[in-house]
């Protein structure tokens, strides 16, 4: 009886807090994704050779845990088979977050591109429940011939001479 009580409480907690956390997370992901659109993330292996670039390895990682409700519904779906949507959204969150963190690491180096992006997912075992780790890494290409970053400086340098 007590066990059943715990189960119901956990399930309710998982449903309420888990859903709320997921909604908030997706909101922040969408917001940050639109802010970092200026930095292209490419899966290509071949870097552009239009100008010299410095290469820096950048990465971003995140560990997201499933909640009690997700684990339970996933268990139910497992009986009948089919799409396990609770985990699909969890993995989607993890991947997008990892890419965003990689992008912000690249932006801190003033990179113009991130090339050869690789994504890696692994299951983290913590007791009996599940969490996933997503790693995104790639090579940030930082222009050594500052074009975009110097444009603002040169324009401010030329404007006093023009006046």
């Amino acid at each position: 009886m007590i066990e059943l009580g715990f189960f119901v409480v956990f399930l309710a907690c998982g449903f309420i807090f888990g859903q709320r956390a997921e909604k908030r997370h997706f909101k922040s992901i969408v917001k940050r994704e639109s802010q970092s659109l200026s930095l292209p993330v490419v899966a290509s292996k071949y870097p552009p050779d239009d100008q010299p670039y410095k290469q820096i390895l950048v990465s971003g990682n995140v560990v997201v845990a499933s909640d009690y409700f997700k684990s339970f519904t996933a268990g139910l779906i497992n009986i009948f088979g089919g799409r396990v949507t609770p985990f699909e959204s969890l993995l989607d969150r993890g991947r997008r977050e990892a890419i965003l963190r990689m992008k912000s690491a690249a932006q801190s180096h003033d990179a113009s591109y991130v090339f050869n992006v690789k994504l890696e997912t692994s299951r983290i075992v913590t007791g009996r429940a599940g969490a996933i780790e997503v790693l995104a890494y790639g090579t940030a290409l930082v222009s050594t011939e500052p074009l975009t970053s110097n444009r603002t400086i040169s324009s401010s340098a030329t404007s006093p001479s023009a006046t």
């Binding site: 956990f10 907690c13 998982g14 807090f17 888990g18 956390a21 997921e22 997370h25 292996k45 071949y46 870097p47 552009p48 050779d49 010299p52 670039y53 290469q55 820096i56 390895l57 990465s59 990682n61 995140v62 560990v63 997201v64 845990a65 499933s66 909640d67 009690y68 409700f69 997700k70 684990s71 977050e97 090339f115 050869n116 690789k118 890696e120 692994s122 299951r123 983290i124 075992v125 913590t126 007791g127 009996r128 429940a129 599940g130 969490a131 780790e133 790693l135 890494y137 790639g138 090579t139």
Partner: protein, 106 residues
Amino acid sequence: MLISNLEILPNSRIVRHIGLVQGSSVRSKHVGRDIMASFKNIFGGELQGYTELLHESREEATERLIEQAKSVGANAVINVRYSTSSIAAGAAEIFVYGTAVELEPA
């Protein structure tokens, strides 16, 4: 030391291929963290302790890769890959490997 996961360096020439270099690190969190994590598993969300742990672990593995590359006389490691595997409950191995090369001095 240049670390990259590309194979092509458009503006420098590779003088010598040295071979595979690697670095690894196995870490785990103390039990308190694991208990906190199992609480988080009810509510869901990010496990920041583990995110940091794996990040630090990856940095250490990369540090070891660089050390090994230096010891064989390389000045760059290209085509770097990461790999993760969970060894036991609460412990994970981070492995990083790449090709050590010597670049023509600029």
